[in-house]
Symmetry: C2
Subunit: 146 residues, 2 copies
C-alpha cells in the first residue's frame, strides 16, 4: 500500500500554468488595448502578416487551436478595424484568404512592440537561456496532445 502525500496547490503545475498564463494575458491585453486589439485578435493579425499570401480561416483555426466559428468573429473584428481583408481564393471558391492591409502591417508592428514590452513585467526575472528552455517545454506540452 502506497502512501499518497497530497501535493500542495502551489506546487501544482496546472495551477501555476494557468495562473502565469493569466498574468501574461492580462498584461498583454492591457498593452494591446491602445491598438484596439486583444490577445486573440492580435494572434490572428500576426499570423496573417507572417504568411506572404495570406491564410485561409481554416488554417488560422488550426494554427491557433481555435474553432473555425471563433475565427470568423475575430476576422470580422479585424476587417471592421481595417487591419485585414478577406480575399477570394483562386483555386477554391469556398476558402477566403485573410490578408493584412498596409495599416494592418503597421499596427501589427507597433502592437508587437507594445506586447513584448508589457510582458517584461511578469517575465523580467527570467534570463534569455531560461526563456529558451521555457519556450521549449511549453512547445512540447502544446504538441503532446494537439
Amino acid at each position: 500500500m502506497e502512501v499518497h502525500m497530497a501535493q500542495p496547490l502551489t506546487d501544482d503545475l496546472g495551477f501555476l500554468l494557468s495562473r502565469a498564463s493569466g498574468q501574461v494575458v492580462r498584461a498583454t491585453n492591457a498593452a494591446l488595448a491602445e491598438h484596439g486589439l486583444r490577445v486573440r485578435s492580435y494572434s490572428v493579425l500576426v499570423l496573417a502578416c507572417e504568411a506572404a499570401k495570406g491564410l485561409s480561416q481554416r488554417e488560422l483555426a488550426t494554427a491557433l487551436a481555435l474553432d473555425p466559428s471563433q475565427v470568423v468573429l475575430l476576422v470580422d473584428e479585424l476587417v471592421a478595424a481595417g487591419l485585414v481583408e478577406r480575399q477570394a481564393a483562386e483555386s477554391d471558391r469556398r476558402t477566403r484568404l485573410v490578408v493584412p492591409t498596409a495599416e494592418g502591417c503597421r499596427v501589427r508592428e507597433a502592437a508587437g512592440e507594445a506586447a513584448t514590452a508589457a510582458v517584461e513585467a511578469p517575465l523580467g526575472l527570467l534570463g534569455d537561456s531560461e526563456r529558451d528552455r521555457l519556450r521549449d517545454m511549453l512547445t512540447r506540452i502544446c504538441t503532446a496532445t494537439a
Copy 2:
C-alpha cells in the same frame, strides 16, 4: 536605427503559455468532471483541505488571485455539494471560515489523483527535473507582478 525582426507567433512566450495552460486546464476539467468539480472549485477545495483550521474567503481570494466575489460563488457550489462548510469565526464576526467536510476530504483525494493522472497527457514528455525547473520559472512569473 535598429532592425526589428518580428518574432513568429510560435515563439511568443505569452502565446505558448496560454495555449499550454488551455491544454492542461481542459484535461484537468475533464478528469475532475466525474467528481463534480472544475479547476477553480477544485482549487478552493484543496486550499480548504490544506489549512488545518480553515481559511477565510478573503484568504482564499488572495491565495487564488481571484476576486472575493468569485470566491463566494465557488464556495456556494462546494457547500451545495456538501464538500465544505462555512463556519463563523470566533474572533471576527465578519469572516466566515471555509472548512472541508469529511466527504470533501475524500473527494479532494480522489479528485487530486484523477487530476494528476490526467495531466500526464500534456506533461508526459517532461522529465522530473524539467518539471522542477518549469515549476520554478512559473512561480517566479506569478510572483513577479502579483
